[in-house]
């Protein structure tokens, strides 16, 4: 490996998803070690950065855009990243996160926070970011360059997409690796 070559600045983000896609990323096992030699992980749930940085080469975005915070972060991600990947079905189709879409937001919040006998009640609502009327797939909020489907995408799929992008090659998953679900 050439040491003078600038490392690729990689970010990951967690919007309206369950973190399962990030878990699958961790399942890359040995590839993670190889990746560590080629990339600087500059943002995401796996690192400590508070602000989404500038001049990111590649960002994997997990989750649908379901609240105003997601929307704001998605826009920053887009303006600061060269390549944006919709990482997993929630980002690509809305998936499980969007199953709320047929229920009006007010009814949803009532059922979950006002009426449910849960440890967290109505008082949480003042701190929560406001929900959008609909949970959106990422490409309906910002331009998305590559879709990486699966719930979660298998480590094999992640490896194929990330390796191709790092090598500057076109992403070409075969049909069996492109299915939703």
């Amino acid at each position: 490996m050439t040491t003078d070559k600038r490392k690729i600045r990689l970010a990951t983000a967690w919007l309206g998803g369950c973190s399962g896609c990030h878990m699958s990323f961790l399942d890359l096992d040995e590839l993670l070690i190889e990746l560590a030699g080629r990339v600087d992980l500059v943002y995401g749930p796996l690192v400590d950065a508070k602000q989404f940085p500038e001049e990111v080469d590649l960002t994997l975005v997990e989750g649908a855009v379901t609240n105003v915070d997601n929307l704001q972060l998605a826009r920053i991600i887009r303006s600061n990243s060269r390549v944006v990947v919709g990482f997993g079905d929630c980002a690509v189709t809305g998936n499980v996160t969007s199953m709320r879409n047929r229920i009006p937001v007010r009814d949803l919040l009532t059922a979950v926070y006002r009426q449910a006998r849960a440890p967290i009640g109505e008082e949480a609502l003042k701190d929560l970011p406001a929900l959008l009327q609909q949970a959106l797939p990422l490409h309906q909020a910002i331009a998305v360059d590559v879709c990486l489907p699966g719930c979660p995408p298998s480590p094999e799929r992640i490896a194929a997409v990330v390796t191709a992008l790092l090598d500057g090659e076109p992403v070409a998953l075969d049909a069996a690796m492109r299915t939703f679900g």
Partner: protein
């Protein structure tokens, strides 16, 4: 039966007169995507995935309901056709609620497989998120309208093969729904013989065996050819 000659993808091909374009194309070994079509059922022309280009026609024609005619010049695959097929799939996904990750048919669904095969990587249309229900009143089976693509295989197999005609369609356009017995709950149907043919031919997770969990619903639509060969040709095999 008289033989006709037509051109498919720049190749001269013979077919039997009276065959559909789909039959002629498939007999020639070319793979054409279909959803509403099922070997053994009448042609419907509903899903539009089998669209092909026919020289002289400005619009694409569904191969399953177009008769193969002497001298036709047909193209089954090109950039334009692929683009339309992907758009049709996207509209299908946008119209109902498909959440493959939690669907009974995950991993065994014809719609899911076709989307991957034809390279539909995202849905560019707004999802309609319709508020649709589930009928699990039947002792053995359930219907989930969220996953139904109105291919009407269930309607046809029940009418044409089982002879019960339990299934029908109510409503028009976007409001169309498959119904049982003049829109009574399936469990109260007096015509349903509980044969399960509709479940087996349904290409998606819309019809399922009760108790099937995520990804557990595997269907086998080839039974249809088997029983029809028995009925029509007196050929019995397993």
């Amino acid at each position: 039966m008289p033989v006709i000659t037509l051109t498919i993808n720049d190749e001269l091909v013979s077919a039997r007169s009276g065959q559909s374009l789909l039959e002629a194309i498939r007999d020639h070994g070319i793979d054409l995507p279909t959803l509403c079509h099922l070997d053994g059922l009448s042609a419907r022309g509903g899903c539009r995935l089998c669209l092909v280009e026919v020289a002289g026609s400005p619009r694409l024609l569904p191969a399953c309901t177009t008769e193969a005619v002497e001298g036709m010049v047909v193209t089954t695959h090109n950039e334009r056709i692929d683009r339309y097929r992907r758009m049709i799939l996207e509209l299908t996904f946008a119209e109902r609620n498909h959440t493959c990750a939690v669907c009974v048919s995950n991993g065994h669904c014809e719609l899911q497989a076709l989307a991957a095969e034809l390279g539909m990587d995202r849905v560019r249309y707004d999802y309609l998120n319709p508020d649709l229900g589930l009928d699990t009143s039947h002792r053995l089976f359930g219907v989930d309208h969220n996953r139904c693509l109105l291919c009407l295989r269930c309607v046809r197999v029940c009418d044409e093969v089982e002879g019960a005609h339990t299934w029908d369609v109510a409503g028009r356009g976007i409001a169309s729904r498959v119904i049982t017995d003049l829109n009574r709950p399936w469990g109260q149907s007096e015509s349903c013989t509980e044969c399960g043919k509709c479940v087996e031919v349904c290409p998606t997770g819309a019809l399922f065996d009760k108790g099937a969990s995520v990804g557990e619903m595997e269907k086998e639509s080839r039974f249809l050819r088997r029983i029809l060969d028995g009925r029509e040709k007196r050929q019995w095999r397993r």
